[in-house]
Amino acid sequence: MPSKEKKAIVVAEKVSKKFGSFAALSDISIYILENEVFGLLGPNGAGKSTLSKILMGMMDADSGNVRFFGADLKKQHSLIKGKVAIVPQDIAAFYSFSVKQNLDFFGTLYGIKGQELKKRREYLLEWLQLKQFENRKVENLSGGYQRLLNIACSLVHDPRVIFFDEPTVGLDPKMRKLFWEIIETLKDDGKTICITTHYMDEAEHLCDRVGIINQGKLLVCESPKKLIEEYGGFKVLVVMLEKIPESDFVEALKRILIGSEVTSLGNAIVIALSQEHSLEKISMITDFINAKGYEIKSSTLREPELEDVFINLTGRKLKD
């Protein structure tokens, strides 16, 4: 729930949407706090883009309402427009125009002109490393720079709330990192951000809160940490031994790790540690193993992730 320090900028109540007989969204209620990065996480076709489009006012919901800054989105859309932006997944620009021309044009559409437009444009060009391509046509830019332009065009009017639709899909790691930096910078600038993504690491890294959507329904909505804690399940420790452990050893291990699951797979001991088993336990485990005369070749600890949260909540992988 919104706290006293941060108020909800965007509030969606019982939003539903059908396409024919297909229910894309069913009674979704969420809120986005001021200056938070909110993530909409879910597999493809879950309804993330539909929800973000409804939140943006690009699409009408069949039922429910959306409020921005306390104002009804449907009734006050024209007033809200100037404060909101969407960075779509696909490039939304004039491919035959140059970077500068695109920025100038879209800036004009938001009523920004003259010196103000010029300042804004220069700032964006500099910040998003597009200055060198100022006069280059969009179609001649590489994919990554096109994406940067996409962001620039969305930010030209200095919006307060920004929706990112799958911002890093298809980007190389370097670009991905840059995009993350941009989002972080925007947050530092006081913007409120909503990201739709199917990348767990992205959601974990960037988002203050994450809403997991599956088949049009909002499953959970909480900070990533809390989600992992609550729904993430076990940490998994995989210990590779130099030899196949004996069953006694395995049973002994199980006894000392009640609450966790211990499985032997060839040379490996796989231990699913329950939440109460802290990381200190791991050293105890290794000590125990060593004490039992087994040499540890390697050990790997896998922390639960949002993917695990999703799997635990839906019974399937995000990629499915």
Binding site: S78, K81, F94, F97, T108, L109, G111, E122, K137
Partner: protein
């Protein structure tokens, strides 16, 4: 560190930019000319145009309007800064010398590729070069820009304070959106070049197409005219055809060969002469024409038809001349006939008078009286006859009476005699009585008185009475004697032969018999007469009826004769009138003068049509494709999400497309004016340029919205183009350009007349060819605008567009 390496502007881009700038200059001249502010308007416009051409490269940060459209820039070689006004004047002043443009063109062309040294003489003077901004090579470096590079780019993006000030002005969003639209068109280089070149190509093509003859000079005609055709002078026919010079004859010996000639396209028209038809003897000529093309076939057919008809007229003329030769004689004969009619009429009148006289005479014959008299006579005769009969009867009776009388007379005589005897006797008696009375008297006298006296009295009375009686008796006797005598006379009278009554009566009876016979004969005669009179009466009636009928018929005949006379007179007058008309007139009474209502050549007529078609194709396709591209690129979604209302977005889009359409139209009109002023083509634009451009605005506005409508339903360029063609091609066929509307089904005609293309052609033709004004074309404007606004509303309200 970032380095910007400029590449010189290519030949064709620079040429296109120069042409664009020249058109701007021309537009300036035209605007001033149209505004016609003063007698110096053209000069002022020309001056401003020259100033523009000199200073253009220093106006918009080294970019003239043409260079801006093609993303070229003039920079100083020394510092890569945009050229200034002075630099522009220096580099362009050389063009004040005519022909130097061509030299510059070849100079640039000969420079290899896009070497930065593609500089012309003017560039050498001003130390400038023209660079292509799209072809800048920018070396990508680390994030930080070098201060110098940043400085450079900042200076370059300094822009023009003047335009920045303009930028501040409110309400410019729609123009910026329009500019975006124009830039989109410009960015489609091939499309832009095609669209602009299309205007030139269209005009050139039209000029070439319509630069030929205004009429057909010769038609190849295949002819089959057998000599066996009855009453037809084949040689005369062929001679006349070839004499016209319009027909080039190819003779064939069968109809099939004629048709084959047409099918092989060796001849356009075929003539086959047949035997005359039976009813009127008209010559039957079959004209075959190649109708595989809609328009040209009709033209060739008409040429051939007119030549054949001319021959027909000349043949008619000859025949009429012959007929005219005989008209005089006919007239004379008719005159004689009229005289005979007059005589006959006179005779009829005479006859009429006689008939009238006869009628009068006949009327005087009072047959009725005659009949009445006859009847009366007959009656009298009958009565007479009756009376005769009566008389005869009476005669018989009288004779019988006479006989009776005679008998009676005799009897009477006898009786008289007897009476006489008696009387005598009586007298005797009486005498005796008297004696006795006397005696008595004596006695009485002796009687006593009073008795005596009384008795004497009585006796005296008696005696007196006896004396009276005696007297009477004597008288009677005398009378009787007299009677007897009379009776004897009477009897003698009666019985005297021949003179006696009986004889006379018998003679009378005989006479009566004879009379009766005569009367009978007379009666017979009278009957006969009556019959005759009846017959006469009947005959007279018939005659009168005949006379009346005759008179009536005479009247009729007279009237008809007069009518005939009048008609003959009228016919004679007509013949005289006819005689005054020349056979040449009758053979062909019309001289048809083909007069053009509008002073315009074929090229001038074709230009509005071509202009509309060009606008139709380019605006619909460009609008549709650009809108679809915008949506596919996502730019439209971004635009719709902005604070600018959709109405302004589309207003700007439409404005941009309108401006481009106007540029295309301006190219065509400029070329039109060039053709008019510098070639033999005479193409006058009847309406004012302002009206023309207003019409173009209306037409383009309509087409742009139709382009928007199509792109409402399409998702890619290909489909948009196909759907546009689906819209354009039927309109083309129904517009009246290929086939006149009047030849179409009335329902289709009604529909075709309100199609955008038809209405647009009408509007532009009205303004450019006829000099009409938009104010008088309210219906056309409404037909264009209402659907356009409806489409615009639909597009604005279409929430499915993304």
């Amino acid at each position: 560190m970032v380095e910007i390496n400029y590449i010189g502007g290519g030949l064709w881009k620079r040429t296109a930019a120069f042409i664009a700038d020249s058109l701007v200059a021309l537009a300036i001249i035209l605007v001033f000319w149209q505004l016609n502010l003063s007698i110096y308007s053209i000069n002022l416009g020309g001056l401003i145009a020259v100033v523009y051409m000199l200073c253009k490269d220093g106006l918009l940060s080294g970019q003239s309007i043409g260079k801006k459209l093609l993303n070229l820039k003039t920079i100083k070689i020394s510092n890569s800064q945009p050229a200034r006004i002075w630099d522009s004047i220096l580099r362009n002043c050389i063009f004040l010398i005519p022909g130097t443009e061509l030299i510059a063109f070849f100079q640039i062309a000969l420079a290899k590729g896009k070497n930065p040294d593609t500089r012309r003489v003017g560039d050498g003077l001003a130390k400038t070069m023209v660079v292509d901004l799209n072809e800048q090579i920018i070396a990508e470096g680390p994030k930080e820009l070098s201060k110098k590079a940043l400085e450079k780019t900042k200076k370059e993006s300094r822009g023009n304070p003047l335009f920045e000030k303009i930028d501040e002005l409110p309400g410019l969003t729609v123009f910026k959106i329009a500019l975006k639209e124009l830039n989109l068109i410009k960015s489609q280089k091939a499309g832009l070049l095609t669209a602009l070149t299309l205007a030139v190509v269209v005009m050139a093509t039209l000029a070439l197409s319509f630069g030929g003859n205004n009429a057909i000079t010769q038609v190849d005609v295949a002819i089959y005219a057998p000599k066996s055709v009855k009453d037809f002078n084949i040689d005369y026919f062929k001679q006349s055809l070839s004499k016209s010079g319009l027909v080039k004859m190819h003779n064939f010996n069968s109809k099939e060969k004629v048709l084959e000639s047409i099918k092989k396209r060796e001849s356009k028209v075929g003539i086959v002469v047949n035997n005359p038809e039976s009813k009127f003897g008209k010559y039957v000529i079959d004209l075959y024409y190649d109708n595989s093309s809609i328009s040209s076939s009709a033209i060739f057919f008409e040429v051939a038809k007119s030549q054949v008809q001319n021959i027909g007229y000349s043949m008619s003329q000859s025949l009429l001349k012959e007929i005219w030769g005989e008209l005089g004689q006919i007239n004379k004969d008719l005159g004689n006939e009229v005289s005979r009619i007059d005589d006959f009429i006179l005779k009829l009148d005479e006859s009429d008078r006689k008939l009238n006289q006869l009628e009068a005479d006949l009327n005087e014959l009072n047959i009725a009286d005659a009949k009445g008299a006859l009847s009366r006579q007959s009656e009298k005769i009958s009565q007479f006859n009756e009376k005769i009969d009566e008389f005869d009867s009476e005669l018989d009776g009288f004779l019988a009476t006479i006989e009776d009388m005679n008998s009676k007379i005799n009897a009477t005589r006898t009786k008289v005699a007897a009476y006489k005897v008696k009387i005598a006797k009586s007298q005797g008696d009486i005498g005796y009585l008297s004696a006795r009375l006397s005696s008595t008297r004596q006695t009485i006298e002796q009687s006593p008185e009073p008795a005596r006296t009384e008795l004497l009295g009585v006796v005296d009375d008696i005696n007196a009475q006896i004396n009276e009686v005696q007297t009477e008796l004597s008288g009677v006797y005398t009378d009787l004697s007299g009677i007897e005598v009379d009776l004897a006379e009477f009897s003698a009278k009666i019985n005297q032969p021949e003179t006696g009554i009986r004889a006379k009566l018998q003679k009378n009876k005989q006479d009566i018999q004879a009379l009766k016979t005569d009367i009978s004969e007379t009666q017979n005669d009278l009957n006969k007469m009556e019959v005759f009179v009846n017959k006469l009466d009947q005959t007279l009636s018939e005659v009168k009826t005949l006379i009346a009928n005759s008179k009536e018929q005479k009247k009729e005949v007279g009237a008809k004769l007069k009518e005939s006379k009048r008609m003959i007179g009228s016919f004679m007058d007509s013949l005289k009138e006819l005689g005054r008309i020349s056979p040449e007139f009758l053979a062909d009474p019309l001289i048809l003068n083909k007069i053009q209502v509008f002073k315009v050549e074929r090229l001038g007529i074709a230009v509005p049509i071509a202009l509309v078609l060009l606008l139709l194709l380019t605006t619909i396709l460009l609008t549709g494709v650009s809108f679809v591209d915008e949506r596919n690129q996502g730019a439209y979604s971004r635009m719709v999400l902005s604070t600018t209302p959709k109405s302004i977005l589309f207003a700007g889009k439409i404005l941009g497309q309108l401006i481009f359409a106007l540029i295309q139209a301006a190219i065509i009109i400029a070329l039109l004016l060039l053709l008019d002023n510098f070639t033999n083509y005479k193409i006058t634009i009847a309406g004012s340029l302002i009206e023309v451009f207003l019409a173009i605005v209306l037409v383009s506005f309509a087409f742009i919205n139709w382009g928007l409508l199509i792109s409402n339903f399409t998702k890619n360029q290909g489909t948009t183009i196909l759907m546009s063609l689906l819209f354009i091609i039927p309109m083309l066929f129904l517009s009246g350009v290929i086939m006149p509307l009047e030849l179409m089904n009335p329902i289709i005609q009604g529909f075709a007349q309100v199609l955008p293309l038809t209405v647009s052609i009408t509007m532009l033709s009205e303004v450019m060819v006829k000099g009409n004004t938009i104010g008088n074309l309210g219906f056309e404007a409404i037909v264009l605008l209402i659907p356009a606004f409806a489409i615009l509303a639909l597009t604005l309200l279409n929430k499915n567009l993304r």
